[in-house]
């Protein structure tokens, strides 16, 4: 199984943990993720203004490059996934923007949204298959009560993202079950964590995070798992700043758990020990 792979800036810096564990697990599962050459920042936020063309362009370049290889484009970062997928949707559906973007980029071949953008979770579900994954688990996470947190970027807007049922998603819970863990259902799992406001409205965000953490805790969660570097930062750091900050809940990337269940973790540590 071979895929184009778009890492994004964050995965190369503050979220290196996410990338490392994901890539390691991919190798163990026999998946080839070919990192795109000369990838650029996706733009970080999807340009909401219909008239803005420039912020699209770097995304489109990556999308076009993947199309050249004929492969699906995999992302691990939820934010990059969001931006790439929405940009691709615009290229597919908005003639006007598509033409303008192609005119700017002067690509050898016109790009019209032909690339399929998938998230690493979708890769596991649709390409590997959760039953197969379950069979490959070496150290099942039996007895662990884990709350999945989806956040906004994977799910919304539903009509464009078409990631999972936006109001009642199950992909992360199914993933947890494949690893042998117990998934905790709680009402705040698709709420916004508020990370876009973290730079300037920390108190508001701390309150939003508190609601999520308390909801997970009150439903019996022992840990929380996410798929987004932004959520991850927010849930990890801002829960310390909430009034209930003391009883903190461990926060994992989903790939960390994957790594653990596939029994890849020790080897890393061994290597590091060398």
């Amino acid at each position: 199984m071979r895929f184009s792979y778009y890492p994004g800036c964050t995965l190369k810096t503050t979220a290196a943990l996410l990338e490392n564990s994901a890539l390691k697990a991919a190798r163990a599962l026999g998946i080839e993720l070919i990192e795109q050459e000369k990838w650029q920042c996706c733009g970080a936020v999807f340009p909401l203004a219909a008239l803005e063309i420039a912020p699209f362009l770097s995304s489109v370049r990556s999308l076009a490059a993947a199309k050249d290889t004929g492969e699906k484009l995999v992302t691990i970062c939820a934010a990059c996934y969001h931006v790439l997928k929405r940009a691709n949707h615009v290229m597919k559906t908005d003639r006007d923007v598509c033409t303008k973007a192609n005119n700017y980029l002067q690509l050898p071949e016109q790009y019209r949204g032909g690339t399929e953008v998938i998230h690493y979770l979708e890769l596991l579900r649709d390409e590997v298959g959760f039953p197969t994954l379950a069979r490959k688990v070496k150290k099942p996470l039996t007895g662990r009560k884990i709350a999945a947190f989806y956040g906004c970027l994977l799910l919304r807007p539903p009509a464009v993202m078409q990631f999972d049922n936006a109001e009642n998603p199950s992909i992360m819970e199914d993933f947890l079950h494949a690893l042998g863990a117990a998934a905790v259902d709680y009402p705040y799992r698709t709420e916004c964590c508020g990370v876009y406001l973290s730079v300037q409205n920390e108190e508001i965000v701390a309150e939003m995070v508190a609601k999520i953490i308390n909801s997970a805790l009150s439903h019996g969660a022992e840990a929380i798992v996410d798929a987004c570097p932004l959520c991850h930062y927010n849930l990890l750091e801002l829960q310390k700043k909430t009034p209930q900050g003391k009883s903190t809940l461990p926060v994992y990337y989903f790939t960390e758990l994957l790594e653990e269940a596939l029994d890849l973790k020790d080897k890393v540590e061994e290597k590091m020990a060398f």
């Binding site: 964050t10 203004a49 807007p157 709420e191 876009y196 300037q200 990890l236």
Partner: protein
Amino acid sequence: MKITRDNLCSSIVKEIAEISGENVAGCYQCGKCTAACPVNTVMDILPHQVLRFLQLGLVEALLNCNTIWICASCFTCAGRCPRGVDLPGIMEALRLILLRKRGFSRIKAGVIPRVADKGMPEQALVSAFRKYTR
């Protein structure tokens, strides 16, 4: 307050429609956006009121409110709107109108080192800049 066709169809109203690509007349004020919004408690003008003000051509109040800056672009409202109105896009248009004014930035670059800790993902910083500064 005097309502005239001129303020209903002012150039700024048209500009907002152009930037967002949305027809605010589509909204019938059910208020679901506000009901769904995770940050509605700290907004000075509620999300559905933003649309109502636009329907009435009352743009000035919107350009001076904190709501457009508090909106986290979580798309919850847009996902649930029965009229398919893209409110985050309209919020963006309002922000852009201000950001396109000479010298307007919601966040000054100098602030960032103070607020950003080491672990803050680059994307959070980039997006803050992308959204709140020219």
